[in-house]
Symmetry: C2
Subunit: 272 residues, 2 copies
């Protein structure tokens, strides 16, 4: 692995080394450490990055689903992206992440060359203060939190863990990389996982959790993303079903100009 102190920590985290057998080798990043193992958003980004860097890739990501199959240990991993079907303008990918020969994550991706068509995003950005008018939210704890600038506007993490249960788990916040870094598909995918668990907001009770599966649909192409530079994204998520040890949420990501950049969903295990 290249160790360059001038390299952005996210860039270092998604660095992958091509192997002779077509797989990629990477390493978990201490800069994105979570309570146990790495921040899931970076694991997702690493899986997608193995497709983005693949010499046979066609077009930009349209849909990406990652399934977190096991706890990921700090250290090396191997990624095996496979283009399982290539059509004229779309391509389907299956990705496996392994550690010590054991599967720890699977993912699928659809990439495609986009065309100019009718457009009209329906999920509109809510009226919110500009990023410069919202104070940065201080969040302490695990290391990866320091890699993101978050400005909560609504639905911040409970201050009092008093077991009160609001009916609504809506959160809205501005997010960007810290230090700022121009957006790309990998960082957008990582940011899509930045929401703290909706069950904490609903219950205000500390509950062990783990994301099981996350999906991202992309509504911007590479050029649109690049045009945003290191801009903030407005993120919104709201829980849907909670019970039997699992909950899900549905979320949206907009750029500062109010254009929908991605939508995301995830289902999360919770302990009790």
């Amino acid at each position: 692995m290249r160790q360059d102190s001038r390299q952005h920590p996210f860039e270092a985290a998604i660095a992958l080394q091509p192997q002779p057998d077509g797989s990629w080798q990477g390493r978990t990043s201490p800069a994105f450490a979570n309570m146990i193992g790495p921040y899931g958003g970076v694991t997702a980004a690493q899986c997608l990055q193995s497709v983005l860097r693949h010499p046979q890739r066609l077009g930009d990501p349209i849909a990406f689903t990652v399934n977190f199959a096991a706890a990921i240990a700090d250290g090396d991993f191997v990624l095996r992206p496979r283009p399982v079907r290539t059509n004229r303008s779309t391509q389907h990918w299956a990705i496996e992440m392994q550690q010590d020969g054991q599967l720890v994550a699977t993912a699928t991706a659809v990439t495609a060359t986009r065309r100019d068509t009718w457009s009209g995003h329906e999920a509109r950005m809510p009226e919110v203060p500009r990023p410069g008018d919202a104070p940065r939210t201080v969040r302490r704890g695990v290391e990866w939190l320091n890699r993101y600038e978050m400005r909560f506007l609504e639905g911040a993490i409970p201050k009092e863990w008093d077991g009160e249960t609001p009916d609504d788990s809506l959160s809205r916040l501005w997010v960007r990389d810290d230090p700022p870094r121009p957006l790309d598909f990998a960082s957008l995918t990582a940011i899509a996982d930045v929401f703290f668990p909706r069950v904490w907001l609903r219950r205000a009770t500390p509950t062990p959790i783990g994301t099981v599966s996350m999906t991202v649909y992309y509504h911007a192409d590479a050029a649109q993303l690049a045009s945003l530079g290191p801009g903030h994204l407005l993120l919104q998520a709201r829980g849907q079903g909670f019970g039997g040890g699992y909950f899900d949420h549905s979320g949206q990501l907009w750029d500062e100009g109010g254009s929908l950049v991605a939508t995301t969903h995830q289902v999360v295990y919770f302990k009790e």
Copy 2:
């Protein structure tokens, strides 16, 4: 394939024959024919059914994602479900569907044994007329439409294809199999794809479309589903992003008693 005239058409459509190499053979069903090839919901259900019938399956489906990689021809197909990781209470699956040795669909599934935990669904059923108070919506055209009893309450398919563009693509409808059949995970998964394309509602312009990827998160276990018998489900979906040849929607499915049964998302190709 068993051909039994007393067999429910959905039952016949998801019938799979175990093969010596661990794969399953199935056949597209004329009863679920779409414009070209089969109704995608049944393809999804067939993929999931290969997991549900697998002798090593652990628990009930939690998350399921299917990627439609190519047009599916009328005729035989082979399904290869693989349990890629089995933990104490969760199991991860990768599924491939092939025709004539070519991959036509991939899917991933997470199954798990559920436990009693705190629960509190947040996506609440809207106030709507009961199924018995809503007239059945007559939809003619492709054959699979005759396999579902649909009662549109809001956002029906445009009567006039006049190119008007409403701001909102919300649809609400009661749905069940026709003839009625007790709900299970396979039929629930098929029903999750029943929405006509949101881009038709937004544009009132006939546009060729094709679902690229669909995800379902399950909020009921097998016992809860079985308790619903052949009841109606209230379905709701709304578009999110539309542009560059793709749109997505986010949807919910409730039982007649108002309990959230599943949530679903999909991203769809559209032509112009």
